[in-house]
Structure formats: C-alpha cells, structure tokens
C-alpha cells in the first residue's frame, strides 16, 4: 500500500511537471495529437470494460461520448463561464481553471452514465449480435437527437464561446493525462478486485454465473453504466480541448474505431486497448508524409494486425511493470 501511495505521488508530480513543461517544449500540433490520443485511450479502455471484461458487445460507444461532450459543453457555456469568472476573481487564473475543469468532466460523465442506464436496461436483455445492433442503433439515435437540439447548435456544431477573460478551453496535457490515468486505475480496481470477478464470470458463462448467485443483469448494467461514465468523461475532455463539438465526431464510424481498438489490443486487456488506441490514433499522423496513401495504409494496418494476431496484441493479458521485470526479454511483446 505504501508503495502504491508512493507511485501515486510520483505520478502526480510527474503530471504536474508535464502540465507546466509540455507547453514550453511541444508545439500545438503535437499537443493536439497528444490530447486526441489520451481521449481515444480513455474511450477505448472504457469500452473494454463492457466488451472485453463483461463479454457484452457494444458498438455504439461514441453515442455516450457525444452525451458527455455536449452535456459538459452546455454546462460550461450556459453556467460554467460565470462560475469560472467568479473563481478567477478570488483565485489566480491557473488555479481557478484547475479548480473549475473537473466539474464539466464530472457532469459529462454523469450525463453519459445516465444515458447508459436508460439504454442499458432494455438492451442488455438482448444477447450477442442483437445487443450489438441495438447499441449501434441507440448510438445513432443519440447522435441524431443531439443534432436536432438548437440550444447546442444543431447541425452547426457547438462552440465553447465565453465572455472575454474567460477561456473554456482546456488543453493542458498534464491534467488530461492525470484524468485518464486516474480513470484507468478506477476501472482496473473495479475489474481486478475480488468483486470484479463477477464481470469475468458473466463473460465466461452467463448461466453458470447466474447459478453461482451473481445477479448477471445487474452486473451487465453496472459495467455498461461505468463504461458510459468514462466515455462521457472522454467526450468532455475532447469538447474542452477542442473548444468546439460537432455530432460528426461521434458517428458510428467512431464507435467502430473504438471497437477496433479494443479487439486489436486484445479483449480483456486495458493496457492492450490503450496501446492500440494510442498507436492507431497516432498512426494517421505519423503516416502524414505518405499523403493520400496514409488512410489506405492505416486500414491495411488494421486488417494485417488482425490476421497476424487474431487474439489481439496482448491477448487478455495486461502489460505491467512486474511482468516486465520478471521476463525482461519476452514480456514487452506481450508474449510472456
């Protein structure tokens, strides 16, 4: 436990350093890509909770990101700008911003988890492909519904505009990184704690789990709601980093992409999903030199990886420091 506390303090110190130092050394292009990678990592790992650990197949996750993004953006624009202004009058600006920004993230997460509950309760009665299709449908319905709400811009998109002196955008990689790391830790605790066995029991054999007294429906809904919460946080991070949201960022194409991250990383592996999400979000940028060919190479990369490693990059294992230490040669490739 003391070790964990030490690690946590070290991580916070590192992230604080990153928050201060990164804007000095990184140009905006890299900072933006950094944010997108972190958002993709959080969205993919949250989907992993449902698809990889609980064995339910959701392909509408982008809908919950949309709820989080729009709910947090609406909060910030209609109420938050005033609060932030008030905070800035009593605190120095960076501190005021640091105190304010967790609020929209939390709001986005809660709104998305509420949507997750509403969607999850009826859909989780369905199984397999039918569940997948229902989540796909709900994802699109959410998106089109938002598209028709004028208060959040409708088809024009929604800019996080604020009065002078107040900036609702937040791109600090340190804090965004801290949020993502913290979320990952929470999800990992949830799944790898003794109680978390319930998720994997439902995945392995629903009937057997039911027979062992696991309330399978509740476990499934729980996984769905928690996953939606963190997808909402990811959406909120995205909205506040970009300063503008549009429903086009949350189409079923985005949902498919998240599913691809999860399966490519390995079902049942948070680190696998994180690596796949980071790698495949960075890939189109790294391939920019190839011009028009980059997206072709990107899709070939997905197909080839899947054919070469059908079980995903890490299978259902996690990459961890302990594993790296134990098997210095092989563990890095996830083959340990």
């Amino acid at each position: 436990m003391r070790r964990a506390a030490f690690l946590a303090i070290a991580a916070v110190a590192l992230l604080a350093l990153a928050e201060l130092a990164l804007p000095q050394v990184l140009n905006r292009y890299y900072a933006t890509i950094g944010v997108r990678i972190l958002v993709a990592v959080l969205a993919a790992t949250s989907l992993q909770l449902v698809n990889g650990f609980t064995g339910q197949f959701s392909i509408g996750h982008a809908g919950f990101m949309a709820v989080g993004a729009y709910a947090s953006a609406a909060l910030s624009v209609y109420l938050g700008a005033g609060w932030l202004e008030a905070l800035q009058s009593v605190l120095p600006q960076p501190l005021a911003r640091l105190a304010y920004f967790p609020l929209p993230l939390l709001a986005g997460g809660l709104a998305a988890s509420l949507a997750g509950l509403v969607v999850g309760v009826p859909s989780l009665r369905l199984r397999g492909d039918y569940l997948a299709i229902a989540t796909l449908g709900f994802g699109e319905i959410i998106r089109i519904a938002i598209l028709n709400v004028d208060a959040v811009g409708g088809a024009r998109g929604f800019a996080l505009s604020a009065p002078a002196g107040v900036d609702l955008r937040y791109e600090g990689l340190g804090m965004i990184g801290a949020v993502v790391v913290l979320s990952l830790l929470v999800m990992a605790r949830l799944v790898y704690a003794p109680g978390g066995l319930a998720f994997r029991a439902v995945r392995e054999d629903e009937i057997a789990a039911e027979a062992m007294g696991i309330p399978t429906t509740r476990v499934k809904v729980e996984a769905f709601v928690v996953a939606s919460f963190f997808a909402g946080v990811a959406g909120a991070l995205f909205a506040h980093a970009e300063g503008y949201v549009h429903t086009n960022s949350f189409t079923f194409v985005r949902s498919f992409e998240l599913v691809a991250f999860v399966v490519l990383g390995g079902l049942g592996s948070f680190t696998g999903a994180a690596i796949a999400a980071a790698g495949l979000t960075a890939a189109p940028e790294l391939l920019r030199g190839l011009g028009e060919w980059r997206m072709i190479l990107y899709s070939v990369l997905i197909i080839a990886t899947m054919i070469l490693r059908p079980q995903g990059l890490l299978g259902s294992r996690e990459l961890s420091l302990a594993r790296l230490r134990r098997r210095p040669g092989t563990a890095a490739a996830g083959a340990g």
Partner: protein
C-alpha cells in the same frame, strides 16, 4: 390521398434497393455469422463501375434499355470479383479465430475501400449518366409511375425471383442452406464449405452491384462514401426482417424504405436517418429475432 400513394410508390422503389443490399448482409450472416461491414462499400463500387462503364461506352448520350443491361452486367461482374477477393483475403485467413477478429477486418476492409475509392475515383461527387430518359410510364388514376421507378421495381423483382430460384432450386442453393444451418455438419456431408462461402459473397455482391446501379438511376449523385449510411441501414433492414432469413431481408428492406420515405414526406427529413434505428430498437425489444427470424 394520391400524394400518399405516390410516396408509397417512391418508398417501394427505395425499399427494393435497400432489400437488395440487405440480402447480401443476411446471406453472409447466414453462412458465416459475420456482419460484413464492407458490404456497403461493394454497393458503392457497383455504382462507380457503372459510372465508368457508361462513360467508356458513352451510354449516357442515347439512353436505352440495352445500355442499362450492359452497365448492370458489368457492375455485377466487377463486384462479384470484389466480393470473392474480400472474402479470400480478409475473412478466410481468420476462419476459426472466433467471431470478433473477422468483424474487425470487415471494418478495416470497409475503411480501405472508402479511402481507396477517394484516391481512385476522387472525393467529389459524380453524376451518374442518365441511362434512361426519365418520363412517365403510365398512370393509375392520379398515380404517375415513372419509367425509372418501373425499371427499379422490375429489376428488383427479377433479381429476387432469380435469387429464390438459386437458393431453393439449385445444388449450390441447397449447399448454402446446409452451411447456414450447420457448417461443420455440412462439411462432414461433403459440402465444400469454403467454396459455398465464396459463392455466397459473390451472390451478395452481385445484388449489391445492382442496387448501386439502381440508385445511380434514380438518385444520380454518387461518391466514394455513398455506401456508408445506406449500407448500415440495409443492415438494419436485414435485422428487422430477422438476420439470416432471406424473405426477412426482402420484407425488412421494403418496410424500411416505405417508412423512411413516408417520414421524410410527412414529418421531417432530419429525422429520416433516425427512424430506421427507432424501428430497429422497437422491433428488437418486442421481437428480438426480427420479423421472420428464428431463435
């Protein structure tokens, strides 16, 4: 009232096109239990092939039925080849690797075809050459039936009848039904499962190609991303009818086309894209296996 029947007619023509694409989804699902997300892109390639063939033979200048048939056959041939290739390259290596890996390669192939389409055909929309001069074919009371609608509906009916014949009356059809019931058992009975799967992709792709041409006829703006949303909706149609069921895909496609046309005609076209999913969820919740599906 006459407006209602006019909309209904439009809906039937549009639904027939959905049904053709939905058939490809449902047949592939039947034999492989795979949602072939790349199917919408096959439909796009069908429309594009039609565009280039029609231009190469300058068929747009003097519209004729023969020209349309040539274009249809060319597109069907190209898509048959494409469908078989996709199956061979992206899905066959993953047979036996579980059901998720091929789902991801399907998404990969879909992305690949969209992006390759933008590279090869250009990202800007193209105008499909008028293979038929639009005119009124005949009237029933106040209801005007255009020759394009007549052609679309006739083609759909002919293709579906042909498909029924293939599925129910030929050796290949029997093999396909056997694989879709129980692939390992079919293999034990000497059915060449891989060849049947390949044939199923060819059959589905041929129908998708025809759908692409018919869309080009009635709605001439085509572009490399045109397969994305109609592909998804055709898939929804297949699920509505009960995925794996051939009559189900036909019924689901028609239902979806009619409802969408009526919604955009009478309510609002912004909700048109949502209605497919609303019906989908309503049906899934009350009848999870779709209209014609078996458990």
């Amino acid at each position: 009232m006459e407006q209602f029947f006019q909309q209904l007619l439009n809906g039937i023509a549009w639904g027939g096109i959905y049904a053709l694409v939905a058939l490809g989804y449902t047949m592939v699902y039947g034999v492989l239990r795979l949602i072939n997300f790349a199917h919408g892109e096959v439909y796009m390639v069908g429309a594009m092939t039609g565009y280039y063939v029609a231009h190469a033979l300058s068929l747009g200048r003097e519209p004729s039925l023969a020209g349309l048939v040539v274009v249809l056959l060319a597109a069907m041939g190209a898509c048959a080849l494409l469908g078989a290739t996709i199956e061979r390259v992206a899905y066959r290596p993953l047979r036996g690797a579980g059901r998720l890996a091929p789902l991801i390669t399907a998404i990969g192939v879909s992305l690949l075809l969209q992006n390759a389409g933008q590279l090869v055909f250009g990202a800007d929309p193209k105008f499909f050459p008028p293979l038929l001069a639009s005119r009124e074919s005949f009237r029933v009371g106040a209801l005007a039936v255009s020759n394009i609608q007549l052609t679309v509906i006739t083609t759909v009916v002919v293709l579906m009848a042909g498909l029924q014949l293939i599925v129910n009356r030929t050796r290949f059809g029997r093999a396909m039904r056997a694989v879709s019931m129980d692939a390992p058992a079919a293999a034990l009975m000497g059915v060449p499962v891989d060849r049947v799967i390949s044939g199923t992709f060819v059959l589905g792709s041929v129908l998708a190609a025809a759908a692409g041409i018919l869309v080009g006829l009635s709605n001439p703006k085509i572009d490399p991303l045109m397969g994305l949303l109609p592909g998804l909706k055709a898939f929804v149609a297949a699920v509505l009818g009960g995925i794996g069921s051939i009559p189900g895909a036909m019924a689901g496609g028609l239902l979806l086309g009619i409802v969408e046309t009526l919604v955009s005609g009478y309510l609002s076209s912004t909700y048109r894209d949502a209605i497919a999913f609303v019906i989908l969820i309503a049906i899934l919740l009350y009848r999870p296996t779709g209209l014609f599906g078996t458990a």
